[in-house]
């Protein structure tokens, strides 16, 4: 009984940090690779081309 409870708690608590990390990671990729604000675009210009993101 105790073991069961422990296992289910562990699995719930380990998927939420992973989800958070995925969202954070995708957020960073969106900012560096996709947001079209001109300052960001100019700063990331060469990287976007070299990494294969749609740029202009």
């Amino acid at each position: 009984m105790t073991t069961k409870t422990l296992t289910s708690t562990t699995s719930v608590s380990s998927i939420i940090p992973a989800l958070f990390a995925v969202v954070l990671g995708l957020g960073i990729i969106t900012v560096t690779g996709h947001v079209q604000a001109s300052t960001l675009h100019d700063a990331a210009h060469d990287v976007r081309h070299a990494t294969g993101f749609p740029c202009h």
């Binding site: 990390a21 960073i28 700063a43 749609p54 202009h56």
Partner: protein
């Protein structure tokens, strides 16, 4: 758990990103700068006189701010990728799969296919000055293709059933059958030789980048896990 993911992703992303940035500055940037001479009209080919294929290009230290920003944004981009990669590694491990640095190399190749090669297969890495459809439409296609290819790679790696492979193949092929947004007319002023070299270099560095990222991510994930286990 969260601290472990964040720490290992940060180490892996920063380390891989730094190496990749240097590779890009050395191998991709000169091709990009060469293309920009045609994009801006400083050079014109097929205009009359033959144009030298080896013009004077700005050196690595002629535009320090531009190149520093490139290094910074490459490190950030690969940290973003690393966060996704390590999070997925943690889930694979939870399902009983082993993730060592050697496995990380395969993870990296799968990441390269999902994030770089699958979208680039139809929306080829763009040299500056290339004709292209609306950027918003291309971004939607890019995100959809990366998402379907990502799911496909997971199914190939962990599905284990015939139907998983079939679904994965369909997911990999579908975006390219549907087709990416394309320009109405070709207006690119850049010679095809430069465009082809640019795409080849972008893919080559991209693959090296992802192999490094996969190996580093798995290595740091293992190291951080071992440290946690020792502390517990």
């Amino acid at each position: 758990m969260l601290a472990r993911i964040l720490t290992s992703a940060l180490f892996a992303g920063a380390a891989a990103g730094l190496i990749v940035a240097l590779l890009q500055l050395f191998f991709v940037q000169p091709v990009l700068l060469h293309a920009e001479l045609y994009e801006t009209g400083a050079l014109v080919h097929f205009g009359g006189d033959p144009v030298s294929a080896h013009p004077e290009l700005p050196g690595l230290f002629d535009e320090p701010m531009r190149n520093l920003l490139s290094v910074l944004f490459t490190m950030l981009t690969y940290t973003g990728y690393a966060l996704v990669l390590v999070a997925l590694m943690s889930q694979a491990e939870r399902q009983g799969h082993v993730v060592t640095a050697r496995h990380g190399i395969i993870w990296g190749i799968a990441g390269f296919v999902a994030f770089h090669f699958a979208p680039g297969f139809t929306l080829a890495p763009e040299v500056p000055g290339v004709a292209a459809a609306d950027v918003g439409a291309r971004q939607i296609w890019w995100v959809a293709t990366v998402a379907t290819a990502g799911v496909a790679m997971w199914l190939i790696a962990f599905g284990g059933k015939l139907v998983s492979y079939v679904v994965a193949a369909l997911l990999l092929i579908a975006p390219h059958v549907i087709g990416a947004p394309e320009p109405d007319t070709f207006t690119g002023p850049v010679p095809t030789e430069i465009g082809a070299l640019f795409a080849a270099r972008a893919f080559g560095i991209g693959m090296a980048a992802w192999v490094l990222l996969g190996a580093f991510a798995a290595y740091f994930w293992q190291t951080e896990s071992a440290r946690d286990a020792a502390a517990a």
